[in-house]
Symmetry: C2
Subunit: 309 residues, 2 copies
Amino acid sequence: MFFEGSEKKIELAVGPQLGSLRAFGRPFWTQMVSAANAEIISHISNEQCDAYLLSESSLFVWDDRFLMLTCGTTTLIDAAELFVQTYGIDCIEFFSYQRKNEYQSHLQKTSVDEDLARLRQLMPLKAYQLGYLDSHHQYLFHLDKPFAPGPANITSEFLMYDIGPMAADYLRCSNQSLDGVRQLLDLETLLPGFRFDDFLFDPCGYSMNAINGEHYATIHITPEQHSSYISFDTNLDLGGEHSHIVEKLLDRLQPGSWDTLGFNCQPQTPQRDNYLAIGQCELSLSCGFMMDFAHHQDTRQNQLPIKEL
Amino acid sequence: MFFEGSEKKIELAVGPQLGSLRAFGRPFWTQMVSAANAEIISHISNEQCDAYLLSESSLFVWDDRFLMLTCGTTTLIDAAELFVQTYGIDCIEFFSYQRKNEYQSHLQKTSVDEDLARLRQLMPLKAYQLGYLDSHHQYLFHLDKPFAPGPANITSEFLMYDIGPMAADYLRCSNQSLDGVRQLLDLETLLPGFRFDDFLFDPCGYSMNAINGEHYATIHITPEQHSSYISFDTNLDLGGEHSHIVEKLLDRLQPGSWDTLGFNCQPQTPQRDNYLAIGQCELSLSCGFMMDFAHHQDTRQNQLPIKEL
C-alpha cells in the first residue's frame, strides 16, 4: 500500500477590500476543500484563526490570509483556481504555491509543469525549483507582486523521511491511540498553550492541527513502511526561539533524512556527529521573503531497505 | 529541456534449442528495438558479440543472451513482451528486468507497477525494490528459475548524477566533438583493446558502445543542466581487476552522487574523505546472482542548485 505523504501548499493573503476571509463561512471553505478533492473532518477556532483538519491535511483561515496544505493525490491547483477565479487577482496581496517532490509523481493527477502553466494563466508568477531533481527538491511559485511581510510573518517547515523503527512500529501498529501518538510526539511539551485537534486514519496515518493566538502548527504522519514521512509546518520560528522543536522531533522520530524550509527564518538542525548537511540553498523572493532550504541525513542509517514486490 | 537519462534494462539468456540469437539477424533486432520505441543508429561486431547503438541507449547480442538498455520515455516492456510472446518461456534460462528510479516518472509511458503486472502475465517472477523511495532506488524483476551463472557472468553498473561543472560545461557546449568526449572520458586508457562505436546527439548527449571478445562496456551521457546523468554498464569487474575505472571516472566527471550495482561482483568506490557511503544493501537472488547496490555522495557539493522555471 502506498500513500503520497508529500504535500502541496497554498498561502494567500488578501487586501481589506474583501472583508474577513473567516466571514466567508463554512460553505465557502467546504467548496474550496472539495475542489481539491478532500473533505473537512474536524474544526477548531480561536479569536484569530479557524483550523480545519482535512481528509488529506489541513486548512487554516485568518481574517486576511489562508494556508491550505494537501497530500495524497489531491488537486490543490483546482482550489487555487477556484479562489482566484471567484475573487479576482486584484484583491490578492500575496500568493504562493509550493509542491514538494513526490515519491510517485506518476500517480498525481497533475504534474508540476501543468500546475505552473495553469497558474500562469491566472497571474504573473515567479517559479523556482530548489535542489537536485534526483534528490529531495521543492517547487515554489509565487505571485510576482511586491509584498512586505511583517516580522511575525514567517513559516518553518520540517519534513522527516524514513522514520526510525521504534516510532514507525508504533505508528503502524493496529492498537495505537490518539493519546499514544500525542505522547510519542510529546505534543504538550512541544507546543505549550496550544489547542489541539487530531485524528487517526484507518488503517494508519495521523493528522494534527494546533492553534494558539495567531500561531499554528500542523503535523501529518504517513507511516507506511518503505515510504514513511512526517511533516511539521508552523509559523513558529524553528530557527530561533523554537529550534528545540527540531531537536526534540529528531530524537523522538529518528528520521533517516529530513528537509527544513524557512520563509524569513532559518530552521536549525542541531550539530551532531551523525547529522550530515547534504545540501543547502537560499533564495531571495520578489514577494519579500528570504527562502531557505536544507537537506540533512543521519549517517548511521546506512543499510538500504529491500522490499519484495 | 528535460531528458530522462535513467535506464530500463533487460538481460535474457536462452537455452540451445533456440540456436544463436545473433543468427536471428538484423530484421528481428530492428523489430525488438522499435517495439521499445527506439531506433538502431549504428552497429559494430566481433566474433562473439553484435553491439547496436540505439537512439536511446544500447543493445548487445551474443549467441546465447542479449542485453538491452533504453532510456528516455522508451517502452522496453513492449520489447520484453515481444520476445517472450514470440519464443515462449521454455527456451528462456534467465531473464531480468531492471528499472532505475526516474527523475520524472510521470512522463513515462508505463509505471513500474504496470511493467511488473505485465511481466507477471508472462512468467513466474521475483520482484524487488532496493533503496528508499525518497532517494535513489532500483527495481529488479527476474524469472524465478534456478540458473547457474558462470564465473565470468557478472555485471557492473556505475551511475553518476550531477556531473561536476568542468565536464558538464564541455558536454553541453555546442562545439564538442566525438574526439573531445573520448578524451574527456579517456576511453583508450579506460578500456584498452576495446573497439568503440560512439555518437553525439543534437543538441547534446553522447552514447558509446565498446566490445572486446565477450566483454562489453557502454556509456550514456545526459548532460542537461539540473539533471545531468552518466551511466557506465559493463561485464568487466568494477569491484576487482577493473576498479580503477570507477576511480578514474569519478576524478574526470566529479559527480555529486553516484550509485554502484553489481551482479556477482561488488563495484568499489575508493576511500576518500569527501566520499560518503549514503547506503548499501545486498540481495541473494534465486537466479544465482548476488546483487549489490550502494549509493555514495561527494560531500563537497553542498550548495543546492536553484532553477528558475
